[in-house]
Amino acid sequence: MKMPLSALLGLIFTTLFFLAAIFANLLAPYPIDAAVGGVWEAPSATYWLGTDTIGRDILSRLIYGGQVTIFVATASSLLAFTLGSVLGFVAATQGGLVDQVLSRLVDLMMAIPALIIALVVLVVLPRSLITLILLMGLLDATRVFRLSRAVAVDIAVMDYVEAARLRGERQGWIIFREILPNALSPLVAELGLRFIFAVLFISTLSFLGLGIQPPLADWGGMVQENKGGLIYGKAAALMPALAIAVLAISVNLVADWVLSRTTSLKGGRGG
């Protein structure tokens, strides 16, 4: 199957972002918190993307900020995924009381808006990366649970799963050998969307002053630090905003492509 250009571009950009995050220490021309230049200098040969509110190099902060943003988003989406999908599959295959309890619990969590839970938790708990990852992972796990349960319910009634059950396979075997492979494609697409959601959510929390705490940088916090110049055409705040948008669009393009493949696997005629 040929990959469309948009998905290819998305994949390339996503990979670039991840590589930049991993090798931040090698790539960044300046340290993360060194005030090297003047305030809000325009992009130049010395500072490729200009300087920020106290004269720090924006490119360097963008790279380090990407590391933090991408790390937290990846870790929390993976946590949400593992937790949400395993519980979702268990609920779907087990049915009965287990399904009822888990589903109602998720209903309960989802009935309270995520941002409110986050606000309350972050006001009380120490604002470390661990807290952020756990919080976002747990909040997102409820969404993943719903999706994976729905997908698994469809698969669980298939003949081959029924056959495996009659053969007397264990629960774990059924989940990992029969359901997981068949549910992988929509779940991978969902992983992409959850990852974007996590990136936007951290940015929002940092914007409200509750997310990543300085001296660490993240993109949302960088927008917040530099937004003062925005309405006067100072581009400092635009760079991290652009970074968020480009990353989100790239991952979305890949996720879209994965999703469309799923549809065709089902034998539909839609692209």
Binding site: A111, P113, I116, L119, V120, F207, L208, A241, I249
Partner: protein, 318 residues
Amino acid sequence: MHPVLILVTQRVALGLLLLLAVSVVIFAGTEALPGDVAQAILGQSATPEALANLRESLGLNQPPLTRYFNWIGGVLTGDLGVALTNGQDIAQAIGQRMGNTIFLAACAAAISVPLAILLGLVAARYNGRWPDKVISGITLSTISLPEFVAGYFVIYLLTQVVPIFQPVAMIFPGMTFWAKLHAVALPVIVLVLVVLAHMMRMTRAAILNVMQSAYIETAELKGLSPMAVIWRHALPNAIAPIISVVVINLAYLVVGVVVVEVVFSYNALGKYLVDHVAKRDLPVVQAVGMIFAAVYIGLNILADVVSIVANPRLRHPK
């Protein structure tokens, strides 16, 4: 009894049960916050006697269960208590802000829902061709922008470059309807951008999904125009997923717009909540939490009911 009615009653009952459970969670969750409320009110100048007096008068010495029933009893009778920080009656303070929240959500929904469905239909009609690609591309970008970025961008564009709107979107009783509309224009634009993509993409997907059914092919073979097929046959059958995504976004417009309120200094529930969370004003946090949860659950029940009613197989059981 008609089976639809039974189903609807079931959904409503389940929703109410869920709301009750949520009230327990909210109460227990906020009570479990570290830090003593009485200490928080009195601050550094607290003497042990004053603390004891205040605990007594706030009823903090009663067992949690008693306090829960006192609180939920108050909620049911519309008495939400007074804010600890400034003694304002919460129900009164919330009343006006709730109105503002709903006004903003309604304005945003009135534009975004029809627009999203229309764009979704067009994209489905021209699936894979340029109108589809343009619509999908644009909505993809708007969904990828954090709200605050979109917010500052429209402030820059529409109050400085082309000064036609106000950057601060406060509304007050006594303003004319048009003045209110003018005031909230910018936050509405931002919210429309934010929720449009999700609804449009789901509409498109739902329509395309239905288009694979046999009866659509029959309709096409009958020689109906593609738009007529979508309008008369695909849309009615795709209505359930569309409604559910619309409802999710409506709920978001009510409970999830804290950032927009902060950026535009809009006086509604979200900002009220954020201020009081920071000060640990528990009665307010509990009250707003309950309202948000009730809105969310209520809208979900509505979605369920509408999809039950809209589903021909459920409406005409064999």
